[in-house]
């Protein structure tokens, strides 16, 4: 039985705010327009990645290959625009298509070959990274390694909007420029949220994760749903790759190494249950920005880089613990009301 957790991300949001305030007090430079802009532009891609990651997790799976998939998308962008000189409006869709297909492959390995998601995506983590090395334009044409991508369509992703100026909010306070990547993230967030809460597919996802047997008996096409989940995860990885490449004006073979773990942390901090069936889109996004705020905040507060790692880890565990405490309290209350069975030990 999937462990039950209702999830208004309220506690997380509160934690986020508390942390934000704390950092603002610790360092004057934290709560200013520029820094907010940095957070938005620096972590929107991670939020997208986390939202994508949460879909496989919803189906009781996990996608360890997102990091390599990002690299794959990045390198394809690199090759298409640097070697073939294709314009962004072709390269970008192509790259995203490729990463989506990578996701489909994950899904098929899991559904057709009946591999455990963890292993299947562990294998593709290696395989996709290998493919990145194989197709790397930097290895084929070393001179490209020192050239920047100049394609306007692609670099256009890295633009900022003076929302403050447009709305005259900046007269009231220093209003950050909002990066396009943030709006892309919002789009993904809203879309996913709607899909999860309003559509058949979203419900099927939760059903497959919550009680696979029931899903099968209800005639839900479990396999198709799972494949779709991984495909979407791949799609999000593609978007992330586009944003990153636009930021760096290039791509490297090592891009995305270890990103999967950050994405998973973000998702779980965001209240996506690893037992499946429980999750939202806002949670993971919030989780991703939380991680960003922690890194930047600690840096501004002048903590030593190594102490930072210790604190980050502690906060990660702390967040989950806090969430667990609250959900247990909620469950107890629910039992009181429903007069249900005794709290399960497991």
């Amino acid at each position: 039985m999937a462990r039950l957790r209702r999830l208004p991300n309220l506690p997380l949001a509160l934690f986020f705010v508390a942390l934000y305030v704390a950092f603002s007090l610790l360092s004057p430079r934290f709560n200013n327009a520029t820094n907010i802009e940095n957070i938005l532009s620096g972590y929107s891609f991670m939020a997208i990645l986390a939202i994508g990651e949460s879909l496989p997790i919803l189906t009781r799976g996990i996608d360890l290959s997102v990091g390599s998939t990002v690299a794959l998308g990045g390198m394809i962008l690199f090759d298409l625009s640097m070697i073939l000189g294709l314009p962004g409006y072709i390269a970008v869709p192509a790259a995203i298509l490729a990463t989506t297909l990578a996701g489909v492959v994950n899904g098929l390995l899991i559904t057709r070959l009946r591999l455990q998601p963890f292993v299947a995506t562990l294998a593709t983590l290696a395989a996709y990274r290998g493919s990145v090395y194989a197709i790397s334009g930097r290895q084929l044409y070393p001179e490209l390694g020192t050239k920047a991508i100049r394609d306007p369509w692609l670099l256009g992703v890295e633009t900022y909007f003076d929302v403050g100026g447009a709305t005259h909010l900046d007269r009231l306070f220093g209003f950050p420029f909002i990066p396009l990547s943030f709006f892309m993230m919002l789009a993904v967030l809203v879309a996913t949220q709607i899909v999860l809460s309003r559509t058949r597919f979203g419900l099927d996802l939760k059903t497959v994760g919550g009680n696979p047997e029931a899903a099968r008996l209800a005639g839900i096409r479990v396999d198709r749903t799972i494949v779709a989940a991984y495909a979407l995860s791949g799609f999000c990885a593609g978007l992330a790759a586009v944003i990153l490449v636009a930021r760096m004006t290039t791509s490297t073979e090592a891009l995305g190494t270890g990103m999967e773990l950050t994405a998973i942390s973000a998702a779980v901090i965001g209240g996506v249950s690893l037992q499946g069936g429980v999750g939202s889109a806002s949670g993971p996004a919030l989780g991703a920005f939380l991680l960003g705020v922690i890194l930047i905040g600690l840096t501004l507060a002048g903590f030593s880089q190594y102490v930072q790692q210790i604190i980050t880890g502690t906060i990660l565990i702390g967040a989950v613990w806090y969430d667990r405490v609250l959900s247990q309290r909620r469950r107890r209350v629910a039992e009181r009301l429903q007069g249900g069975e005794h709290a399960s030990i497991a």
């Binding site: 430079r29 940095n38 930097r138 760096m248 930047i296 501004l300 190594y306």
Partner: protein, 344 residues
């Protein structure tokens, strides 16, 4: 052998002296003319003149924790410590580009006086550097130049170094034989520069030498041991091994020692960290590309001080300062020149 080695020694020393000269000249060229004074004064440990009241902050964004950036940091600190109006901190990129970029953003927002940067990639960090320039913050890159013109670049050429290694190695192998490369996985430019340099070197000086194995050992001594012993199983007649960093080269030495074929193998590393130099003196490791990384850090620090306090705005850099660190191919013959306080 003896006169040959004499030749080598002389050659080595000559290049080292050239290098140092070149280095200072370049520094002078690159930075304001006062820099020279700055260099000297800061070396004798006096504080730099005309301190503005508020404390300036400088930060070094390394790519990942490793001996080389650690030594740079020490070098940088040794200069900055002597100037009590400057606060210094070391930040870690966790070997992730996105983190490094985010740290750059943060430092720019913080308005630091100067940023030392060990770029993971010359292009990937260019936008961040441009951003720093807009904010009037001088960026000094270490070892890997950035595509974006910036304040100063202090480098030990990996390409040329690796090329010289190939030359030296070939000379010791008598211009023929089989070579194995203990490499790193792609993703960091250094790896490509060194590999390409080495191949170029063989092509130019010793076309007779064949590279029969190029395997990734992930910068790790343990992996290097395993990989090399595997390679040796298939090709017992290998005459040379090039480790793209010293750790891997030392791993090769471990294997050679254990198999008792140390005298048959010419093993070169790259970086020149003190463990490697020791091993060279013990006559185990054949050689490595050495540069005084402390010094490299100091040069960077000096440049930074000048730029941050000398009233030179980062915006005004049309051509960037460039300090070419002199290096030597440290071998049993030349390693003696390296003073203990130059070993990192």
């Amino acid at each position: 052998m003896s006169d040959k080695s004499k030749v080598l020694r002389n050659r080595g020393r000559r290049r080292f002296l050239q290098g140092t000269a070149l280095g200072t000249v370049a520094l002078a060229a690159g930075t304001a003319s006062t820099a020279g004074a700055g260099v000297l004064s800061s070396f004798v440990g006096k504080t730099y003149a005309a301190e503005p009241p508020k404390k300036l902050k400088m930060a070094f964004v390394q790519f990942l924790p490793h001996t080389v950036p650690a030594a740079w940091s020490k070098g940088i600190e040794s200069v900055l410590r002597s100037q009590d109006n400057i606060a210094y901190e070391l930040l870690d990129g966790q070997s992730k580009v996105e983190v490094q970029i985010s740290l750059m953003d943060t430092l720019i927002n913080e308005g630091v006086a100067a940023i030392f940067l060990q770029p993971v990639d010359s292009v990937a960090v260019a936008p961040s550097i441009a951003k720093a320039k807009r904010a009037g913050i001088p960026v000094i890159t270490l070892n890997i130049d950035a595509a974006e013109k910036h304040a100063a670049h202090v480098e030990m050429s990996h390409f040329l170094g690796a090329k010289d290694i190939a030359k030296e190695m070939g000379a010791r192998m008598g211009g023929k034989g089989k070579v194995a490369i203990l490499n790193a996985p792609p993703g960091i430019v250094i790896r490509d520069m060194r590999t390409n340099g080495f191949m170029q070197g063989l092509k130019d000086y010793h076309p007779g030498i064949k590279v029969i194995a190029d395997q990734a050992a992930d910068w790790s001594r343990k992996k290097a041991q395993d990989v090399l012993s595997t390679i040796l199983a298939a090709n017992p007649d290998i005459a040379g091994v090039y480790g793209v960093n010293d750790s891997m080269a030392l791993g090769a030495v471990d294997v050679a020692k254990q198999k008792g074929i140390l005298d048959k193998l010419v093993i070169f590393g790259n970086d020149g960290e003190k463990d490697a130099l020791e091993s060279i003196e013990k006559g185990e490791l054949t050689g490595t590309q050495y540069t005084d990384v402390y010094q490299q850090g100091r040069f960077a620090a000096v440049a930074a001080t000048v730029l941050a306090t000398g009233g030179v705005s980062a915006r005004s850099f049309t051509s960037q300062g460039r300090v070419l660190m002199p290096y030597i191919i440290a071998t049993k013959e030349t390693v003696g020149q390296i003073r203990p306080d130059q070993r990192w």
